[in-house]
């Protein structure tokens, strides 16, 4: 393990391991419990591969009843639980704990109901994001949030992370497309929230659960909204002589009242790497490349493309190509979607950051990021969801060079501090996990963080679900509940009365 410290393992749990394994085997029979070191190896990390840890034991339940019993068992015996979907978290959200049960939900892999009339799909959480779209696309529908990992990531994981994607600018994040959940609390209690109807009946627990990174409950069923696929989608590749002018163009397009289906930017390093990798036909003589996609009726798309082109020209664009076929549109996107692995080809390792900033700050942030790159002596490739200000700087480093990982982490932290400084946030869609956990105080005060942790206390008072993620300091719930009170007579005569 490297720099980020995890909660100290419970010696008692470690000593009881064989009994815990035997007890869990009674709940989940057959191959549903994995305790062999080698067989557990695939679960030791997620897509945040800098950190690895074998779990106490891996459990793969198949029914809600099993999930409930496993959780209740862990609750009764004070055993920690780390829920896991497909393991594609980029922030270490599913990093196991040495003394924790790793609860994989991947056997919950069935779509339960497709209700086209109500535009809803009811599914188990282990179904992939793309699996939902695949199931309804023959009828002209799709599920809108489209994280780059959509071929692999599970919808349950999407709930945990409130995943976005290139189309979230127009169609929202997971939280905006979720209708209902069935969850199991650490006590084993099963709770149903929402359904195919709109809006929650009392407290908006769907909002709190979406993006809760597996710290509040385990999701066992999901109801999402599906949308009718737009009739036409066309993309334009627009090149700029500088990143700053590209950034300004983004702000101008939104400012003109145009909400594209997607609006992405790549800088020179990312363009070159992507072009070299997938030959998408990207221009190589530009410093920044915008992919902007307009969708809707054809006449609307044509009209908006004209306006976008004009705005780009006003911002000094030097290259413009509009997709003339569905194939060409997909090619434009292929380079962007392969940008991370493409950068992986030009550097032994890279760290992917995920801050979001107000769009207007884009030129300033790009300039300062260049300075930080020089300061830390590491290259940075920039790929971002420009439309919603969500940056993905990729810091290139070589883990075999002593000190480079630490330098890269420090560079990344500097970038995120910069994001917060200009009015942005630490993470737009990858989650806090362990990766950004210790940076939370950059954005939140102690009171802010304590109030957040109190939400966990309402769901999981013993703090057994995924502890060590999201919050830099673990406070016991009893301590968080303590209140300083000073009684006195009404001491503020100056506060207006009515």
């Amino acid at each position: 393990m490297a720099a980020i410290a995890m909660p100290k393992p419970s010696q008692e749990t470690l000593e009881k391991r064989s009994k815990i394994v035997a007890d869990l085997q009674k709940i989940v029979p057959g191959e549903g419990v994995i305790c062999d070191q080698i067989e557990m190896r695939p679960y030791e990390t997620d897509a945040f591969t800098a950190y690895r840890q074998l779990p106490l034991v891996v459990v793969l339940p198949e029914t809600v009843d099993q999930v409930s019993k496993v959780l209740k068992y862990c609750y009764d015996n004070d055993v920690k639980v780390v829920p896991r979907g497909a393991g594609t978290s980029l922030s270490g959200g599913a990093l196991p704990l040495e003394d924790g049960v790793l609860l994989s939900m991947m056997k919950f892999n069935r779509i339960l109901e497709i209700d086209l009339q109500n535009r809803a799909v009811v599914t188990q959480p282990g179904v992939t994001n793309l699996g939902i779209t695949t199931a309804v696309q023959a009828d002209g529908f799709y599920y809108a949030p489209d994280p780059s990992s959509q071929i692999a990531c599970s919808i349950g994981g999407n709930i945990a992370e409130n995943s976005g994607g290139v189309h979230s600018l127009k169609y929202g994040l997971t939280t905006n497309n979720l209708l209902g959940l069935e969850i199991v609390l650490i006590t084993g209690e099963v709770i149903r929230l929402g359904g195919k109807h709109l809006d929650s009946e009392a407290y908006d627990l769907l909002a709190l659960l979406t993006g809760s990174e597996g710290l509040l409950a385990v999701v066992t069923e999901v109801t999402v909204r599906i949308l009718q696929k737009p009739e036409t989608a066309r993309a334009a590749l627009i090149g700029f002589p500088t990143s700053e002018t590209a950034g300004k163009c983004v702000a101008d397009i939104i400012g003109a009242g145009i909400i594209p289906g997607g609006m992405e930017l790549m800088d020179k390093l990312a363009i070159d790497a992507a072009e070299d990798f997938v030959h998408a036909g990207y221009p190589l003589d530009v410093e920044a490349l915008m992919i902007v996609e307009l969708d809707g009726p054809e006449a609307e798309v044509d009209d908006l493309l004209k306006r976008v082109s004009a705005i780009a020209e006003d911002n000094g664009s030097s290259y413009l190509r509009v997709s003339q076929s569905e194939e060409e549109r997909n090619t434009f996107w292929a380079g962007r979607k392969a940008a991370f692995p493409a950068v992986g080809r030009i550097s032994p390792d890279y760290l992917c950051m995920d801050g979001t900033i107000p769009r207007a700050a884009l030129p300033q942030v790009l300039q300062e990021m260049q300075k930080l790159s020089e300061k830390h002596g590491l290259r940075v490739a920039n790929v971002f969801h420009a439309g919603d200000g969500n940056l993905h700087p990729l810091i290139l480093y070589d883990a075999n060079q002593p000190g480079e990982l630490a330098a890269a982490e420090e560079f990344g932290a500097d970038i995120l501090r910069l994001c917060v400084k200009v009015g942005g946030v630490l993470t737009g869609e990858h989650g806090v996990g362990i990766e950004k956990r210790d940076l939370m105080p950059e954005m939140f005060s102690e009171d802010d963080l304590k109030q957040q942790q109190r939400i966990k206390c309402a769901f999981d008072e013993k703090q057994l679900l995924n502890p060590g993620k999201m919050f830099p300091v673990l406070h016991r719930c009893a301590e968080l509940g303590f209140m300083h009170v000073h009684r006195g007579q009404l001491p503020f005569p100056d506060i207006p009365r009515f």
């Binding site: 627990l205 809707g296 309402a458």
Partner: protein
């Protein structure tokens, strides 16, 4: 005698809550009081109004984000946005006409605390979908913030959205950041005349399942209001640039051609019509119990049919059938059979929007919750408001 606090800043508000927490004395929390007749009444000696905490903190139209103090009148927010050709996409209602209070729309804080969304909620999402950040005072008397000023943000729990529909029982908001959108260049209302509730449901379902991008879909039965005096009206709203609306209109005409009685309401008249649907003008001037029923869209007309077998009702469907407004003509609320019918038709919830204080005190105004969920809701309340001083009992006994 009770105090009426009217703080003008987050710090003053914090001082009042700190005092109330120390004294263990409850506060009735209101914005300007426009929705005071909705929900359960709060038993408390003291009242705290937030409509002294007003003003725009930050508004950059090109960012599509507005940061505003919670007590700012909704009207002021909407006027400001309109000046920049933008709007709150969820178009919150002015409930003055049905709640009988002074006909005003209240504060932006009240809109978000009740997650109040109008007809465009169908396409644009609810009030809560547009909340990006929150600054609030908890029942512990502590100022905290959550979320941020950017659209894409997963840093920490989504407390800003979680605040919405908490009715001032978890925390008192002092400021919000809200996502806003450009106003559509044009709007147009494609209307089908003379449909039954079931036909209307079918038509709305087909329209929503097409690529016509209908942004609102409502059905006014015949005789419901002046607009539908002669024929029932099924309204399908299209918004966008003219060339796009023309195209989508043709699409609707074509897929709905089996309902030949069609007409158009355009421009200002369309806006006015949707304003009336939003503000429930058809239910104004009565004091009979009015329910807000949320069910899956295709269940709306079934719920209506079942209710009509048992009770005299006036009703209207919105959200393509997923939202049914039901006014009980006999004066009795009939909450138990209503909720039974909802449960037998795929589930959902019923909230009593308008009723006498007596009635609201004696039945479940909000949908009763399963025991486990109620337990969780109470624990959540206790984590924000351990002494139960913020709007106690506003939603449920103990919450």
């Amino acid at each position: 005698m009770g105090e009426g606090f009217h703080p003008t800043s987050a710090e003053e508000l914090e001082a009042v809550v700190k005092w109330a927490a120390a004294e263990r004395t409850p506060l009735e929390v209101i914005g300007s009081g426009s929705k005071r007749n909705w929900g359960r009444a709060v038993q408390s000696a003291h009242t705290l109004r937030t409509d002294g905490i007003t003003g725009i903190i930050d508004y950059e139209p090109a960012e599509l984000v507005l940061t505003v103090k919670a007590g700012t009148p909704l009207q002021e927010v909407e006027n400001l946005l309109k000046d920049h050709n933008q709007e709150l996409p969820f178009e919150p209602a002015n409930l003055g006409s049905v709640l009988g209070a002074t006909a005003q729309a209240g504060t932006i804080g009240g809109v978000l605390a009740t997650n109040l969304s109008g007809p465009r909620r169908l396409k644009a999402g609810a009030a809560r979908d547009h909340v990006l950040g929150l600054e609030a005072v908890s029942g512990r008397g502590e100022i905290f913030k959550a979320g941020g000023r950017v659209v894409k943000n997963v840093t920490g729990y989504d407390l800003a959205r979680g605040f919405c529909s908490s009715w001032g029982t978890l925390a008192i908001a002092t400021a919000f950041s809200i996502k806003v959108l450009p106003r559509a260049a044009k709007e147009c209302n494609f209307v089908l005349l003379g449909l039954t509730a079931q036909q209307a449901s079918e038509a709305m379902t087909e329209a929503m399942g097409s690529s016509a991008e209908v942004s609102s879909a409502a059905h006014l039965p015949q005789g419901f209001c002046s607009l539908s005096q002669e024929h029932a009206m099924t309204l399908l709203r299209l918004e966008g640039i003219p060339v796009s609306i023309e195209y989508r209109l043709e699409k609707l005409r074509s897929i709905l051609k089996r309902f030949p009685s069609q007409e158009l309401i355009e421009g200002e008249a369309s806006r006015k019509t949707w304003g009336d649907v939003r503000d429930l003008i058809g239910f104004a001037g009565s004091d009979k119990p009015l329910w807000k029923v949320s069910v899956s869209p295709t269940a709306g007309h079934q719920v209506i049919a079942e209710l009509e077998k048992q009770f005299a009702i006036r009703w209207m469907m919105d959200w393509a059938g997923g939202l049914v407004w039901v006014e009980m003509q006999g004066g009795e609320p009939h909450d138990v059979p209503l909720r039974q019918i909802i449960s037998e038709n795929g589930g959902g919830h019923a909230t009593l929007l308008r009723a006498s204080g007596e009635m609201r005190a004696s039945i479940d105004v909000f949908q009763p919750q399963a025991e486990t969920l109620m337990g969780l809701s109470k624990r959540l309340k206790a984590q924000f408001d351990p002494h139960n001083i913020l709007n106690p009992g506003r939603m449920y006994v103990g919450i």
